[in-house]
């Protein structure tokens, strides 16, 4: 029992494999047969903020992506640059990308995630949001010093993001985020480089599938369905439609509603 071979095989190989199967392979089996959304598919739904970037910073845009048009190719390049910068600066160590399945803020439960981070759609994070080419590996994060970012699309304008990256305390007076001056080519924070433009593109892309996809386009994307009986009961409250039937009609798309999230 206490010999090398027994410990090597049973404790080392067998128990590890058992855990890998239960905790790794079984969850993975839920996604069997579901295609990973490719960069090309992602680039079929370009957020309007990307067009704005091309329009507002034509020279920087051309220098970064070799074109002045907000093409799908440029969008893919910008997303990739933004994700690379996001990982290189370890943004994910202070900003999470998951709205946990807790909330409902109805006075009986402790929890806050949905109310705070998805007050409009009231949708918590689902597995299909992460089942794409931008999540090798996932960026869930484990510490939340700053706001959650999985629904950051449209929460602020492009200019807000660039000002915030140049000096966070210009937009958020109490922020402890360090400035990222190397996302800009000049010394005044007016000319973003590829990383700056990419970062804004990435932040405006996160969650854009909930706020900007036309219903038909959204339904075309592969979705993952779980057996809901696994989860605690959760009933999303009804969203009151605006006057013209669009629940988001009253929101300024440029993000003037800058409440403290």
């Amino acid at each position: 029992m206490e010999r090398f071979n027994f410990i090597f095989i049973v404790a080392g190989i067998l128990f590890f494999t058992l855990a890998f199967v239960i905790m790794g392979a079984l969850p993975l089996a839920q996604y069997q047969g579901i295609d990973v959304v490719s960069m090309d598919q992602i680039a079929t739904n370009i957020p309007y903020q990307f067009d704005e970037l091309a329009r507002d910073y034509p020279e920087a845009f051309e220098k970064a992506f070799g074109t002045t048009e907000p093409t799908a190719e440029a969008f893919k390049e910008a997303l990739e640059a933004g994700r690379q910068a996001y990982i290189a600066e370890a943004c994910w160590h202070c900003h999470t990308q998951q709205i946990r399945r807790i909330d409902p803020n109805d006075g009986t439960e402790v929890g806050h995630d949905v109310s705070r981070w998805a007050p409009d759609t009231r949708l918590e994070s689902e597995a299909d949001e992460y089942h794409n080419a931008m999540n090798y590996p996932h960026l869930f994060g484990t510490r939340r010093v700053g706001p959650d970012l999985i629904r950051s699309s449209g929460r602020h304008s492009n200019d807000w993001h660039l000002a915030h990256l140049w000096n966070p305390r210009e937009t958020s007076p109490y922020s402890v985020m360090p400035p990222y001056t190397w996302f800009f080519d000049d010394d005044q924070g007016k000319v973003p480089n590829a990383r700056g433009l990419g970062m804004v593109t990435y932040l405006q892309w996160l969650g854009s599938w909930h706020t900007q996809f036309a219903p038909s386009e959204y339904e075309d994307l592969p979705r993952i369905h779980f057996d809901e009986s696994w989860y605690p009961p959760y009933v999303p409250p009804e969203v009151q439609p605006g006057e013209d039937g669009d629940p988001y009609a009253e929101e300024d798309p440029y993000g003037s509603s800058e409440e403290d999230y």
Partner: protein, 485 residues
């Protein structure tokens, strides 16, 4: 002259049998690894301290790209794992394994090569992190290209030491070697699973389940077995008493081996990972904490009647303070992993306090004890100053106590403020006082480190020879006369 289940059979560093003299312990490699470990932890502590400045909006390195806050944060954790802990563990293995098995490692030349290669890998990986080539896997932020090198390095270490264990002619293995054997299997498996699958094959939520396993297994299946192995060796040796119970060490080992690998998903509770995995992780986490607590009890009972030794032996003090921290950690684990607690404390500084208590308060303290015990034996020089060693001990002990208490409190404050749906920045402003005291504890830890480093250096250059304690008669059936711990 056989070893019993509760006492290690300890051979001298050089044995002579049948007229043949064999060098069992490669003391040079052990010494080099401890030197590297202490050098890396110095850099790592400075990185952590710089990161704590960022939270107070004091930017000593504002606008310097390579010292960006996120990058020094990644450098801090990865240096501790791969620079400090790994180097110290390899040094400790050099001292322990050949003396328990009676066989030297595969090759002393390979040991030197491993030292050079491993530290070159760590340096290259740090360069990669600082120049923005990091990988987004917690505890594995080393650039993807360096992962291949790490796998080769780990394989060499495993081969080098497993050779010694396999060739041993002992009838049964002492408990330390069970832990080491298991760790030699687990470490490469864990590293390959965590660094390769989520990066290349498994995106999103499925990858998160694997990363959860990786985060947890790196602590549980590499650091913990190494730590327990060294405790089972050094505590009996220094306190000169056999381990209290062989049965409890069996429970501890097999409980750890079975339950610990199942825990990983508890890092992502309430996430989109399927709930059956989350429930399973919570239950097995509670199970493993119960098991681990029994091991703590084993050591406390081993020390029964010997506590007065803490007055004379600073090494034993390190071990026992680490043990206390371990008990607190385990006790905390068992309830903080519940889904109810996670609603409040997940994502807060509570978790940061917890991880510092484990990685620093437990494992770094045990390594500090090993350094305290071994440095004179490896260099042949007496410690330069006992007073400096005491300063080191008290600064680190009080430093980690302050950091843990402080971060735990502001973790709860943050969680409840978020829950109350107050504006986000309010939680930042209420945290500032806590982040200030964290910086103070960082300073204490840095000064404690300077005490250690200066003392090691001065002992090395001083001329006061170390007189080895002789363990004659302490383990009558196990330890031959003239063998030191």
């Amino acid at each position: 002259m056989t070893q019993t289940a509760t006492t290690p059979l300890i051979r001298p560093t050089v044995v002579t049998s049948r007229g043949e003299t064999r060098v069992l312990v490669d003391t040079t490699s052990a010494k080099l690894h401890f030197i590297a470990a202490v050098a890396w932890i110095g850099v790592g502590i400075v990185a952590g301290l710089l990161y704590s400045f960022v939270f107070l909006r004091l930017y000593p390195h504002e606008g310097i790209e390579v010292l960006s806050a996120g990058r020094i944060r990644m450098m801090h954790t990865n240096l501790m794992a791969y620079g400090f802990l790994t180097n110290a563990f390899i040094g400790m293995l050099h001292w322990v394994v050949p003396r328990l098995t009676g066989e030297p490692v595969l090759s002393h030349a390979l040991s030197k090569l491993i030292w050079i290669a491993w530290n070159a890998i760590v340096a290259a990986a740090m360069w990669g992190i600082l120049t923005g080539q990091a990988q987004a896997i917690e505890w594995g932020e080393t650039p993807f290209w360096s992962d291949h090198l790490v796998v080769v390095g780990v394989a060499l270490v495993v081969i080098n030491f497993t050779w010694s264990i396999i060739r041993s002619r002992e009838k049964s293995m002492y408990v330390t070697l069970w832990y080491f054997t298991a760790a030699f299997v687990w470490t490469p498996l864990v590293y390959i699973m965590g660094n390769y699958l989520p990066q290349t094959l498994v995106p999103g939520t499925g990858g998160a389940a694997l990363v959860g396993l990786y985060i947890h297994d790196l602590v549980g299946l590499f650091v913990t077995p190494m730590g327990w192995g060294l405790m089972y060796f050094f505590v009996p040796v220094i306190s000169r008493k056999p381990i209290y119970s062989h049965a409890i060490s069996l429970v501890g080992f097999w409980g750890l081996a079975f339950f610990y690998p199942l825990n990983g998903v508890h890092h992502f509770l309430w996430s989109p990972i399927p709930m059956f995995a989350q429930y399973g992780a919570v239950i097995s986490t509670i199970a493993v904490e119960i098991v681990v607590t029994t091991v703590v009890i084993n050591f406390v009972l081993t020390m029964r009647g010997e506590w007065y030794r803490l007055r004379e032996s600073i090494a034993l003090r390190w071990f026992m303070v680490g043990m206390t921290c371990y008990f607190i950690t385990c006790f905390q684990c068992a309830f903080q992993t519940t889904l109810t607690m996670q609603k409040v404390i997940h994502f807060t500084d509570w978790v940061v306090g917890h991880s510092h208590l484990v990685m620093f308060g437990v494992f770094s303290f045990w390594i500090a004890g090993v350094i305290e015990h071994l440095w004179p034996k490896l260099t042949g020089r007496e410690w330069w100053s006992r007073r400096l060693n005491l300063w080191h001990f008290w600064l680190w002990t009080l430093g980690v106590a302050l950091m843990f208490t402080d971060l735990t409190i502001i973790g709860v404050v943050q969680g409840l403020l978020w829950d109350s749906l107050r504006p986000w920045e309010e939680s930042i402003r209420y945290s500032e006082i806590g982040w200030f005291f964290r910086m103070i504890s960082g300073w204490m830890i840095l000064v404690g480190f300077v005490c250690l480093a200066v003392n090691m250096l001065m002992s090395f250059v001083s001329r006061q020879d170390h007189v080895d304690t002789v363990y004659a008669g302490q383990f009558p059936e196990a330890a031959p006369t003239g063998v030191n711990g």
